[in-house]
Amino acid sequence: MNNSKKKHKTLLTVTRTIWNYPPLLMTIVLFIVFSILFPDRFLTPINFSSILGQFVTLILFALGPSMVVTTGSLDLSYIGVWMLGGILVWRFTPLLGMAAILVIPLLGLVTGILVGIIQVKAKVPSFILTLSVSAGYAGLTSVLSGGYPRVVRGYEFLTAKLIPYVPTALLWTIPLIVVAVFIMRSTKVGAYFYAIGSNEEGARLAGIDVDRYKILAFTMSGLLTGIGSIIQFQHLGGSVPLTLNMNTLIQPLTAIVFGGTLLTGGSGGPDRTIIGALAFAVLYRGLYISLINPEILQLLIGLVLVLSIVIASRGLKGVTIT
């Protein structure tokens, strides 16, 4: 009796999951469309591994912020942490050897705590705060690097080829994703994040220590981004750029929005962001393959971002938007 009940439940869950994730449908549709349009260029193993590679880049940056977004804030500091972390690794390798790579999670953790405290205590809007942090870190990166891009060798084992056509970075990323989704969906902390995002005043009145959990959100995001940046660092060649590239900043944000996470908080999270990242990777590679002008590509991505935000914001009647 118990066995058949369990099977019934599993089937329900699967059906419900597919129904709950429209972006999944969108990804499949996009995939089919591009396969029909450009079969010879799109359906190659190289293209698949490129899609997966881009997915890895997106998700490693977007995982932490997608947790912060559920509380209603934004965390744009991932770029800064990655850049400054990369240069600090270069700086500390003579001193600490291979352990220097641990500087990045440390930086992420410290940044997360700082941002959380400033956001909560000084009530600075998170968007501006984290953007300024990224800009400041980018400047520091350039200062510390002495002006030249610096490559750090010795971490190639992180991305050595294991499975053909699957970036090894993806294998490293999966545990991170599992941890993030688990925290958001199956722990008290995650539940509180959603509560704060849905109605901060209400959560406070219900007895949740909103300040503490918001700081926790930023801290976790920073730590997750920091750990992810270790993989990201090698995945992107063992060095970091010296200037803040707005495209690199925006794309993880687009992935979060694509996944269906409302930027005002209360729903979504890492599980949705995975699909959003996949959808964006497929879209981007598809457009890239189509060999349209790179300028039009940027325009299109911007339009797509705006459109997806508009669609996602349709359900916000009664919410005060600034």
Binding site: G72, S73, L74, I118, Q119, A122, K123, V124, P125, S126, F127, I128, L129, L131, S132, V133, A135, G136, A138, G139, L140, T141, S142, V143, G147, E200, E201, L242, L244, M246, I250, L263, T264, G265, N293, E295, I296, L297, Q298, L299, L300, I301, G302, L303, L305, V306, I309, V310, S313, R314, L316, K317, V319, T320, I321, T322
Partner: protein, 318 residues
């Protein structure tokens, strides 16, 4: 809590005092290091750095007063400048109304997305800035262009009383902005919405229309700044405004206009613009790289945001 009177509350005064002291300290430091900082030639350099910046900052101030944010100011500046240089040989001085129209149009779209479609303002303007950048890239193809039309350049570089005409443009726009903020219903509505949008709408303020108008005004002023920028520099490429976003935002906040809205105004923005642009000029004079400048401005932006936010009145900040 809509404060539009000039002297009000200790919170605002502290921020103002800090800005003034910082400005005086920084200017004195630079003057001591390089005595030609405030010489007539140096003053002209400072004016050139400051004027187009002030115009764009006034537009941004209006939006921030309302409690929103406009991320597309720099992109619109770039687009307007590029439109001028790209088409001036074809349609002459008509590029000016064209550029202004295009920028105001984008401002209208920003306002529409925000007021009608409930897209948070920074996201709407961020997304639109991507579109505008893409458009600018597509139009200019990345090349560098120069202007040879003397009449167009005379807009900014005609010297009157020892200072270039762009200075008087900046001064004029600043004065007009103060007038709009304090003496027109539109200005008071901006403060009202910034203080409390729901209360403002209950008081009869047409929140949607005012918001759209504010973004259109911001777009228009960004376009004007772009036109005058191109007239001043005489050439440019897609690289215009590369490091302008953070300093621009920092100058509005450093002046004392709070991000939560309802306080501050263009009169304060002048102080912020002087602080930021003169610091920028001074740092460049000392051959401090763009990277260090970026760090400094990020710190100023964060620091002044912290100082100007009135913690008691704002309950929920995301």
């Amino acid at each position: 809590m809509a404060h539009s009177t000039i002297f009000r509350g200790s919170q605002e005064n502290i921020a103002t005092i800090i800005s003034v002291v910082a400005a005086i300290a920084i200017i004195s430091t630079f003057q001591i290091i390089n005595p030609s900082f405030l010489s007539p030639q140096g003053r002209i350099t400072l004016v050139y750095a400051m004027s187009y910046f002030l115009i764009a900052a006034c537009g941004l101030t209006m939006v921030i007063m309302m409690g929103s944010f406009d991320f597309s100011v720099v992109s619109l500046l770039k687009l307007a400048a590029l439109i001028c240089v790209l088409y001036i040989d074809d349609i002459g001085l008509l590029v000016i109304p064209l550029a202004l129209l295009v920028c105001t149009g984008f401002g209208f779209v920003n306002g529409l997305l925000f007021a009608k479609f409930k897209v948070p303002s920074f996201l709407a303007t961020l997304g639109m800035s991507l579109v505008i950048e893409g458009l600018a890239l597509y139009l200019s193809k990345g090349f560098l262009y120069m202007i040879t039309n003397r009449t167009f350049r005379a807009l900014s570089v005609t010297f009157i009383g020892g200072l270039p005409s762009i200075f008087y443009w900046g001064l004029g726009i600043w004065i007009v902005s103060i007038f709009v903020a304090f003496c027109t219903p539109f200005g008071r509505h901006l403060y009202a919405i910034g203080g409390n949008p729901t209360a403002a709408s209950l008081c009869g303020v047409d929140v949607v229309k005012t918001r759209i108008n504010a973004f259109m005004l911001s777009g228009f002023l960004s376009g004007l700044a772009g036109v005058l920028y191109m007239a001043q520099f005489g050439g440019g490429s897609i690289e215009i405004g590369a490091d302008m976003s953070i300093p621009l935002f920092a100058s509005v906040v450093a002046g004392g206009t709070s991000l939560a809205g309802g306080t501050g105004g263009p009169h304060r923005t002048l102080l912020g613009v002087i602080l930021i642009t003169w610091t920028q000029a001074g740092m460049s004079m000392l051959a401090m790289g763009n990277d260090i400048q970026l760090v400094v401005f990020a710190l100023i932006a964060i620091g002044m945001s912290v100082l100007t936010t009135n913690r008691k009145s704002v309950s929920v900040v995301k």
